[in-house]
Amino acid sequence: MLNIFTYDFMIRAFLAGGFISVIAPLVGSFLVLRRLSQMGDTLSHVALAGVAAGFLIGINPTIGSIIFVILSSFGIERLRKSYFRYSEISIAVVMSAGMAIAVILLSLSSGSPANIMNYLFGSIISINNTDVLLSLILSIAVITVIYIFYKELLYITFDEEAALISGIPVNLVNIIFTMIVAITVAVSMRIVGALLVSALMVIPAAASLKIAKNFRQTIFYAILFSFISVFAGIILSFYLNLSPGGSIVIVSLIIMGLASIKKAGN
């Protein structure tokens, strides 16, 4: 049997995948509990518009996508407030807007679609050293911010109104969290692909909700499940010659199924 660790590209996949497997469910758990599970998906559609805009006006498409994603995540935050009980409206509207703008900008720009797709969707086995470093820096930044604002985020996620009344700077914390989500999506979709980022934000958290006894455990299990999914998925894909992103998502779904069975058994 081939040894998976003799290949540099596999080691890079494990490293970058490992970093992103920690931060995606970390921010994802808060999103799921705020009824914004589709955030990853939506922001990756918006990123498409950003890449197209980058091509059109001649700036670096990655920077274009990060700017678009951050702006649109503030748009989502605004809409979420004005449709307080229907948070999901905000992401659905922004997803449509992102797609519409992307289609228009693409029809105007001369960049070839294949080129655009390269900018947009990474693959976990085509990671270079810069990507590994970038995902490490991103992870440290995200973990630090969530650690610092953990208690405020918990309260706001649990009951935004009560948090505000008790004197928590809700707007400030929401802005910081929104930026963190936007940057996490924009950067990690470039490295591991949009499918994987949005899946790792939601599926491990959904599995964790079935068995966690408190909020700390919810976060802990979500990260654990995500980490296991990434490693098992990469190994499976290597030996069975499958798509790595797809394999990781399937493993995470199996874990979610097991968590549901455990819950039903209790």
Binding site: A162, I165, G167
Partner: protein, 257 residues
Amino acid sequence: MSKIVELKNVNFSYNDKKVLNNINLTIDDGEFVGLIGPNGSGKSTLVKIMIGDLTPSSGEVLINGINVKDIKKRSIIGYVPQKSYSFNASFPASVKEVVSMGLYGKLGLFKKLSKDDWEIVDNALKIVDMIDYKDRLIGNLSGGQQQRVFIARALVSDPKILFLDEPTTGIDAKSEDTLYKILDTLNKQNKITIIMVTHDVWAISDKVSRIVCMGNGRLYDRCDTLDFSKKELVEIYGYPVKLDMHHHQNENINNRL
């Protein structure tokens, strides 16, 4: 006794609809006030004005002599919102975690909970007799138990005044009894001023030290429940409005006939 809450000529409108009409109210330190009135009379709005969540269109709200919007130490105000109004019952937080949230505002940004803080959480849970449930998920408790957890959350910041909005909604008679016992202890032993909103006129008359009545955005000063005349009740509960509607319906039917 010193004044702890003072409302001077408070008016509040929401979308051009006058919700509060020239409210004047003084509450002394140590009182247990029952604020009663029918649904839609403006009770919850009045409470939100008193805790500084809403700003009056005109008039002044003073807590301990300071305008409620200027209070630095917000932790002196405890607030237990209407049950399940804004919280998601299947949220994966333990009772202990929910109660600790009451300390976050007081601690401020960048500070983590210390060992002492967790002890304060335990003590609050003991006061509301929920310490045995501290590691349970909040969603797995009954309505009455959840209500007690939210009272504990309001207590951890060591408030001087506690506002409760319809705390007995959706809980059974036995839990209601427990709740009143807890509030009595808090008022008499812990010297916390309590202001409780309810639409249940008759249940609270022997529990509180004073009753304030509300109807159509106005306060009715003298309204000991026993002295309620039929006329006053009609005024507070707005029955004439209902009778009018009845009348109109009949008219419509007559017209059609």
